[in-house]
């Protein structure tokens, strides 16, 4: 029984119900890239890690950089979804699911990078059978498992009412939607249960997310290598992760907006607000980077300064100054005055930040290893096609997972948009009035008495 609201959000159902040729071309291209990556990995699995550019002393390179980078991107979902939900920011409504999907998909890819990096991947079960909790890698394993579980749950719970909408529409995949909808009918009790569960998850997922990238940073800071053994690493990595996460969301938003014609839902105001957040994170990232390097420079410890200068003026200067350009100069130039070009400028800044943050991870991993303390015969690290193909394949795999999700589920949360239309306005008005003098607090949410499950809002 279509009604006015169905028509109104037809664009949100379109990606699920219609599959154009562009979809098949895209999937085909992605599969080719993934195949290239898989072939590269097969060569590596067969012959050994010698097919990469790694050597003594640079025994960690692209793969570990990718690992830190992808896990960093995974902070996208947490920030937008959880923090904005908790702070009742109304503008989050079309963005939350997109962000949550990024988190879940990219965590798989990030974890896979470490497995690709292993010299004996056939023994990866040793981590489970003989794991040592004293090792930061085990902290990683635990933390990332917790985050993966939590963020999958946090993606699934708000998905349930949307899956129920899909279940009740005529269309394909009835079994999938019926199973996943868990019998959702929008009753009072079900709404209460879901509310509470989402609220608990929103609170729980934030410290888990903070722990994830902190623990990833501990892989480096728990060694005694120059410019790794730094107390700032925990907060630095988390800030960098949130930074790259916001940039990733903006890029995803821009692509989805264009490809699926969702300009009505993803408006310049959303890009503007995220752009402001991105600007704040740019400055925060710069502040932490500045503190880190100034401390090293002022202390003038010889081992640290060797690494320092190799980044500033030595062999790594293109990567270092490239990082500064992409992470600071370009975002500042774009984001300080958005004017009427909110979408264009934030997207430019975001693409720049994604590149810059990858360079930042590279700058952390490789220069320290390239400058050993003892007079070791050194060499310059040059990645081979294997590492390039693996990186490209990983990106392609992530995008493929994302595209498949968009094909199966609404990428913009339909029930949350409807809730925003129907009750959001009044709720915000009441809240605003309660801040002003002379008014009492607004009525508590969740007042019952509405019929029909699609119209009934879920309040948080």
């Amino acid at each position: 029984m279509p009604d006015a609201t169905f028509e109104q959000d037809a664009a949100l159902f379109a990606p699920i119900e219609r599959t154009g040729r562009a979809f098949y071309w895209t999937v085909g291209a992605l599969l080719l890239l993934i195949l290239w990556g898989a072939i590269a990995y097969w060569v590596q699995f067969d012959e050994g890690l010698g097919v990469t550019g790694l050597h003594q002393p640079v025994s960690w390179g692209f793969y570990v950089t990718n690992f830190v980078f992808f896990i960093g991107i995974s902070h996208a979902g947490t920030l937008i979804s959880a923090i904005l939900r908790l702070s009742k920011a109304e503008w989050r409504r079309p963005i939350t699911r997109m962000a949550e999907v990024i988190t879940v998909m990219v965590l798989f890819i990030g974890a896979a990078q470490i497995l690709v990096d292993l010299g004996r991947p056939d023994r990866m079960l040793n981590i489970i059978r003989y794991g040592r909790y004293q090792s930061p890698l085990l902290w990683d394993a635990t933390s990332i498992s917790a985050y993966l579980t939590a963020s999958t749950l946090y993606l699934y719970l708000p998905l349930i009412p949307d899956v129920a909408i899909l279940r009740d529409r005529p269309g394909k995949r009835r079994l999938l939607y019926t199973v996943l909808a868990l019998g959702w009918r929008g009753t009072e009790r079900q709404r209460e249960v879901l509310n509470r569960a989402i609220a608990i998850m929103a609170v729980l997922v934030i410290p888990i997310a903070v722990s994830v990238h902190t623990v990833v940073s501990f892989v480096f800071s728990m060694t005694i290598q120059p410019m790794w053994h730094s107390t700032i690493f925990g907060p630095y990595f988390v800030a960098g992760a949130i930074f790259s996460g916001i940039a990733a969301i903006i890029v995803a938003m821009a692509i989805i907006r264009r490809v699926y014609h969702l300009q009505d839902y993803l408006k310049p105001i959303h890009f503007r607000y995220l752009g402001h957040l991105l600007l704040v994170m740019t400055l925060l990232w710069f502040y932490l980077t500045f503190a880190e390097y100034l401390t090293g420079f002022y202390g003038n410890e010889p081992e640290e300064m060797k690494v320092f200068w190799s980044k500033f003026t030595g062999p790594f200067w293109p990567f270092f100054w490239g990082m500064v350009l992409f992470n600071l100069v370009v975002p500042l130039a774009c984001l300080v005055r958005l004017g009427r070009h909110a979408v264009g400028r934030t997207v430019t800044a975001s693409v720049s930040v994604v590149i810059g943050m990858w360079l930042e991870r590279f700058n952390i991993v490789v220069p320290t290893l390239s400058n050993p303390r003892l007079p070791f015969p050194e060499g310059q690290y040059w990645p081979t096609w294997i590492e390039g193909a693996e990186t490209a394949g990983s990106f392609a795999l992530f995008i493929l997972f994302y595209v498949l999700f968009v094909k199966l589920f609404p990428i913009i949360s339909i029930w949350e948009i409807r809730e925003g239309r129907e009750t959001g306005l009044k709720e915000v008005e009441e809240r605003l009035l309660s801040y002003l003098p002379g008014r009492s607090a607004p009525a508590p949410p969740g007042v019952g008495g509405r019929e029909g499950h699609e119209r009934a809002p879920i309040r948080l």
Binding site: E47, L49, L118, G119, R120, I127, Y130, R373, L374
Partner: protein, 225 residues
């Protein structure tokens, strides 16, 4: 309980690398080939580094320093490297998953990785030492197999292990007798005596790794680097 350690007298070392060759032969350390060597993948459990300051050039034979507080064992995720009660930092090839965390953590770069399968089992190798597969980390073990053999012999003959019965290949081979090996916990052993010398210093001592390879500087006043 013994505490195995080594003293290397830098005043005697001529940089001839007999220790390197003896170690390679004794421990089946693979020759990686010229191409791999040019890519920086030489495996050399005992490696002679050259340290140059304004005043002098110095050869630094560097085995695994067998630290008493090893940064490498702290970070291994699978118990593939650990410090045994006699002070030797062991490396378990069958357990190693090749994550190379220990390599990233070692400040002396004493750990090496098998980037390819550099050798198969073949005649002419030392049968007491396992041949490593690709993808695992390896390092100097103070010729631990020699300790096991000496202990077995002593056990069969129902006596204690005598001094000088267990000595590493590098110490045995050095023509200048620059490398002295023995039990640091035995105050009468030559190693313990030399380790107390005023010329003694430890590499990167300030890092707190407590290495058990002690170097003797060329002159008394030249305590460190």
């Amino acid at each position: 309980m013994a505490l195995w350690g080594m003293v290397i007298d830098l005043d005697r070392c001529t940089g001839c690398q007999a220790c390197v060759m003896a170690c390679k032969a004794e421990n089946n350390v693979p020759a990686v080939g010229a191409r791999e060597a040019s890519r920086g993948r030489t495996i050399s459990w005992m490696q002679v580094l050259t340290e140059e300051t304004e005043e002098r050039l110095r050869f630094l034979p560097r085995p695994c320093l067998q630290c008493d507080d090893p940064p490498c064992t702290k970070v291994c995720p699978v118990y593939a490297t650990y410090r045994n009660p006699e002070g030797i930092v062991a490396q378990v090839y069958a357990r190693c998953i090749g994550c190379r965390f220990c390599m990233a953590a070692c400040p002396y770069n004493a750990k090496y990785f098998n980037w390819y399968r550099y050798q198969k089992e073949a005649p002419g190798q030392n049968p007491d030492v396992s041949v490593r597969t690709k993808g695992v980390v390896e390092k100097c073990t103070f010729c631990h197999h020699r300790l096991q053999k000496a202990r077995e012999r002593a056990g069969v003959e129902k006596r204690e292990l005598g001094p000088g019965e267990y000595v590493t290949a590098c110490a045995e081979a050095c023509p200048a007798r620059a490398i002295v090996f023995g039990d640091l916990s035995d105050p009468r052993s030559e190693v313990a005596r030399l380790a107390r010398s005023p010329r003694a210093f430890r590499l990167l001592e300030e890092l707190g790794t407590k290495p058990k390879v002690v170097y003797l500087a060329e002159r008394e006043s030249d305590g460190r680097a």
